[in-house]
């Protein structure tokens, strides 16, 4: 970061697209994603005066995470379903043939649909890692959990995602 004070407009221009993609991949709805971006930018605007130079990414993604959680609570849409039983099974172990089905890589819509099937914590960790490109440490700081938890969420999220994609390919 330069010495020039950061404005919310700077944040919108440099990070808005990532925030939008994060929100869209988490909720699958462009209007909800746009609402979340606005909410994050408002919080950034309010918070910039108190922002202490440091990990700006960590600060911004913590705001984004909190805004999303608050929004989900407000709408009472937060997934509360227990994890599926299949989470600890490896259905692809004995079925390398399914790999060929996946090799014809599915359209973005299928992947998005599979993402939305993941429990929220897994989905968020996977999106932060594979869509936004945050490191495990940055994700841990944003979500306020230990790095070991991030490791577990990403790993289990990918396994579930792979399972969901296989089912879609088979269906």
């Amino acid at each position: 970061m330069s010495d020039k004070p950061l404005s919310w407009e700077d944040v919108a221009r440099t990070h808005g697209r990532k925030i939008y993609n994060f929100a869209y991949r988490l909720c699958g709805d462009p209007h909800d994603a746009a609402d979340l971006v606005q909410e994050v930018l408002l919080r950034v605007r309010r918070g910039l005066a108190d922002y202490q130079p440091g990990s700006f990414e960590g600060w911004l993604w913590r705001i984004t995470h909190n805004a999303f959680i608050d929004e989900m609570r407000r709408r009472q849409r937060r997934p509360t379903a227990p994890l599926p039983e299949a989470v600890d099974r490896w259905d692809a172990d004995a079925a390398p043939g399914a790999d060929e089905q996946l090799a014809a890589m599915r359209l973005g819509d299928d992947i998005q649909a599979a993402l939305l099937e993941l429990p929220y914590e897994f989905r968020e960790a996977v999106v932060m890692c594979d869509v936004i490109g945050l490191s495990y440490e940055e994700i841990a700081a944003a979500v306020a959990v230990p790095v070991g938890t991030v490791r577990s969420r990403i790993h289990r999220g990918r396994r579930l995602l792979r399972s969901a994609l296989s089912q879609e390919a088979a269906g």
Partner: protein, 133 residues
């Protein structure tokens, strides 16, 4: 053989410690099952990474001004605006002078009419020049 499930994703992301990396690499060289699992994890990872980065709607980044709070629906603001409008109307009405009592002479002078007593109807009437037949 102890498998290293949890470390496989971490290994894919290059987030393992040097010691963990050595352990995973060594294990993978001997374990077909973990190599397959690594591949399936990599497919999921690649799938998500293949998603296109969408453009943010342009209206979300105004050139100047503040974040578009006004675009959101805030019922409280409308209530406040209605209350403010009512206050302005009331204050204006109170500030205006009371209307002067009607003076027939002033009226007839201003409109060029004359007042006449209509004995038949037992009342006054205004007569505008030229309108009499």
């Amino acid at each position: 053989m102890t498998h290293l499930d949890l470390l496989l994703s971490v290994y894919l992301d290059g987030e393992t410690t040097p010691e963990e990396s050595r352990l995973v690499a060594e294990h993978l060289s001997q374990c077909l099952r973990c190599r397959r699992r690594l591949e399936t994890l990599n497919q999921a990872r690649t799938a998500v990474r293949s998603l296109p980065m969408l453009e943010m709607p342009a209206h979300l980044v105004p050139a100047t001004g503040s974040p578009r709070e006004a675009r959101r629906w805030h019922p409280g603001r409308w209530v406040a605006a209605a209350a403010a409008l009512a206050t302005i109307v009331t204050a204006t009405a109170l500030a205006l002078p009371d209307p002067e009592p009607l003076d027939l002479n002033d009226v007839t002078r201003q409109v060029g009419a004359r007042a006449a007593l209509d004995l038949g109807a037992n009342s006054f009437k205004f007569v505008i020049p030229g309108s009499e037949r």
